[in-house]
């Protein structure tokens, strides 16, 4: 649903079918809509059978990397005598992305149910839902929902009367984009600075508190109850293009577009129809100039690339970018790409944890250059320096924050070189000059 707009007829609302419905927030309302039947079913199954169903469904991680969820769960070895943990990544802070916020605000019990099923399937007795500190309303809603679920005996030592223990706790972050990186999230939960950890060891071997851990995104877990209830075959049928990309996906749409909001479509949906039909195209009197389709960390697409894209994991890659977190950012012809790329670089400079030299120095350095070009002080050599820095910021650090900073710079210079050159030769922003004239 393009909340706050009514659902578009070409959407396929599964996760979003109750967005905007206040009754679905409450436990009774959720149960009336079929809630917690999947958990009841799951607790009567062998954990391995749940993992097999999720594997079969083709569900892939919705946080950005697109890793197969069932395979990730399969890395856990329940019954090895160690404590196991499930971390839910609700640290949604990728610019352009605001889907997990809506899931938590409107359907908190969907997340709790998916979390409880996931915890049981991987043999984790405790799940922590790590929510970014700025999400005050989702935290309030989730807190209440967890309390209600405990009071109703859905969570706790005797979950749904089955004698099985499932504990779910909310953990509030305190402002740090990097804590959405899974190992930084675990450090933060442990009461440390949110510095990412070197891998290996991978979380399934030594994760939270040094114990085997799985980290899943909110949207991934919210899909799990639907898959258990309706079966893997049902889920696999949601596929319009590549069979490796199944299911429905929430796309957050923002920037210069007529109807911003969250839209849920089947993977493989044509991006051109999505942008012009569902989202209403550019604002009146404008045309689109550029698109960042998967949150700010993915390469920028030209509109020719965007309009040729089929919206799934492979489709975005085939057109020069990535699906990422599904945060779609549009820029229209009134916007200066040099300014926006510089602003994105500033974001990464601000959010760098400063552990790795390439990232700490690189993100700040590219920001200074980009802002100088935007201000009219750029030289021809700056573009080569930016590209060289970007190369040194890619694939050389503990996590991918610095790669994420480089992606829009490299693709931006490739696809909007004319705009960079106009700033350098004209000693300033041509758009600003024409606005002043």
């Amino acid at each position: 649903m393009g909340f706050p707009y009514p659902s578009h007829r070409r959407e396929t609302p599964v996760l979003s079918q109750h967005f905007g419905d206040a009754e679905a927030r409450a436990l009774d309302g959720w149960k009336k809509r079929g809630g917690y039947r999947a958990l009841e079913q799951a607790l009567g199954m062998e954990p391995a059978a749940i993992v097999a169903t999720i594997k079969e469904s083709g569900l892939r991680g919705r946080g950005g990397a697109g890793f197969p969820t069932g395979m990730k769960w399969g890395f856990m070895k329940p019954g090895d005598g160690k404590p196991h943990y499930l971390c839910v990544n609700a640290d949604e802070s990728e610019p352009g992305t605001f889907k997990d916020r809506e899931i938590m605000r409107w359907t908190p019990h969907a997340l709790i149910e998916g979390t409880a099923i996931g915890a049981y399937a991987i043999g984790a007795e405790i799940a922590y839902i790590y929510i970014r500190g700025e999400f005050t309303e989702p935290i309030r809603v989730m807190d209440q929902a967890v309390r209600d679920a405990y009071a109703a005996g859905i969570l706790g030592a005797n979950a749904m009367g089955t004698g099985k223990r499932v504990d779910v706790h909310i953990h509030k972050g305190a402002g740090a984009y990097i804590c959405g990186e899974e190992t930084a999230l675990m450090n933060s939960l442990e009461g440390r600075r949110g510095n990412p950890r070197i891998k290996p060891p991978f979380p399934a071997v030594a994760g939270l508190f040094g114990k085997p851990t799985t980290i899943n995104n909110v949207e991934t877990l919210a899909a799990v109850p639907h898959i258990l209830t309706n079966g893997a075959e049902w889920y696999k049928k949601f596929c319009l293009s590549n069979p490796k990309s199944t299911g429905t996906k929430l796309f957050s749409v923002c920037g210069n577009i007529a109807r911003p909001g969250n839209y849920e479509v089947v993977l493989g949906f044509p991006f051109k129809d999505f942008l012009y039909d569902l989202c209403g195209g550019p604002p009146p009197g404008r045309t689109f100039k550029a698109c960042i389709p998967g949150g700010s960390s993915v390469p920028i697409q030209s509109m020719a690339e965007a309009e040729a894209t089929l919206m799934d994991y492979e489709g975005f890659v085939a057109q020069g970018s990535m699906l990422g977190s599904g945060g779609v950012i549009l820029f229209d012809d009134s916007q200066c790409m040099v300014k926006h790329i510089g602003r994105l670089a500033r974001f990464y400079a601000h959010e760098s944890c400063a552990q790795c030299t390439q990232c700490r120095e690189g993100t700040a350095w590219v920001t200074r250059i980009l802002e100088r070009i935007e201000g009219g002080g750029g030289t021809i050599g700056d573009l080569d320096v930016l590209l060289e820095l970007s190369e040194n910021m890619t694939g050389k650090t503990i996590c991918v924050l610095s790669d994420s900073c480089a992606a829009p710079i490299v693709s931006g210079i490739q696809k909007f070189r004319d705009e960079f050159m106009a700033h350098i030769t004209g000693k300033g922003c041509p758009l600003r000059a024409s606005a002043a004239a």
Partner: protein, 181 residues
């Protein structure tokens, strides 16, 4: 603005900070102490309760002083220097007192493309704050720019203390601030 000067609240003089450390009244007494004990039962280590404990300090005092950091360190078996290291990593813990209304305006690219800069200018002008990170002379407002609030479809989102306000335009600023006395 230099990259090194990005974001955050401007620091008061050092003397103020030291005075605050010496005068520290314990935060974790009575109900708050029991709440902390309940929190500790959720984690296998005491250190894991650090972020929640710091949140409790800020909810009670409005900011996290050096004295409070020392108190939290003592309770969780950590050193004050370690706690300070954690406090300074995260942007949401105030290391200095802030205005009665702490206003954060998202200016990251998606909001920037929808006019967030004009919202910042309007809020600065009408709040009486001379610059980002400073507090208005009447002590009512502190205004900062914040990185992506995760509500990009509702540009420009701002936070006033714990309250989220979506779709703020320069025209809405005077009625929003007018309600805050």
């Amino acid at each position: 603005m230099k990259v090194s000067e990005m974001g955050g609240v401007k620091a008061p003089s050092e003397a103020t900070q030291h005075a605050a450390a010496a005068d520290h009244e314990p935060v974790f007494t009575g109900d708050r102490r029991s709440r902390l004990d309940e929190l500790l039962s959720r984690y296998p280590t005491r250190m894991a309760a650090l972020l929640p404990a710091l949140w409790m300090v800020q909810e009670d005092r409005g900011w996290v002083s050096q004295g409070a950091m020392a108190e939290v360190a003592e309770l969780l078996g950590l050193t004050p220097a370690y706690v300070k290291g954690v406090v300074t990593f995260y942007t949401m813990y105030h290391q200095h007192p802030v205005g009665k209304y702490f206003i954060q305006v998202c200016t990251t690219s998606p909001c920037g493309a929808c006019g967030a800069e004009d919202v910042v200018a309007a809020i600065l002008r009408q709040s009486g704050c001379s610059q980002l990170g400073s507090t208005s002379p009447d002590g009512r407002f502190t205004v900062i720019e914040v990185e992506c609030l995760g509500a990009c479809g509702f540009a420009t989102p701002i936070m006033i203390n714990d309250e989220f306000v979506e779709s703020v335009t320069p025209e809405r600023v005077s009625s929003l601030l007018g309600k805050l006395r």
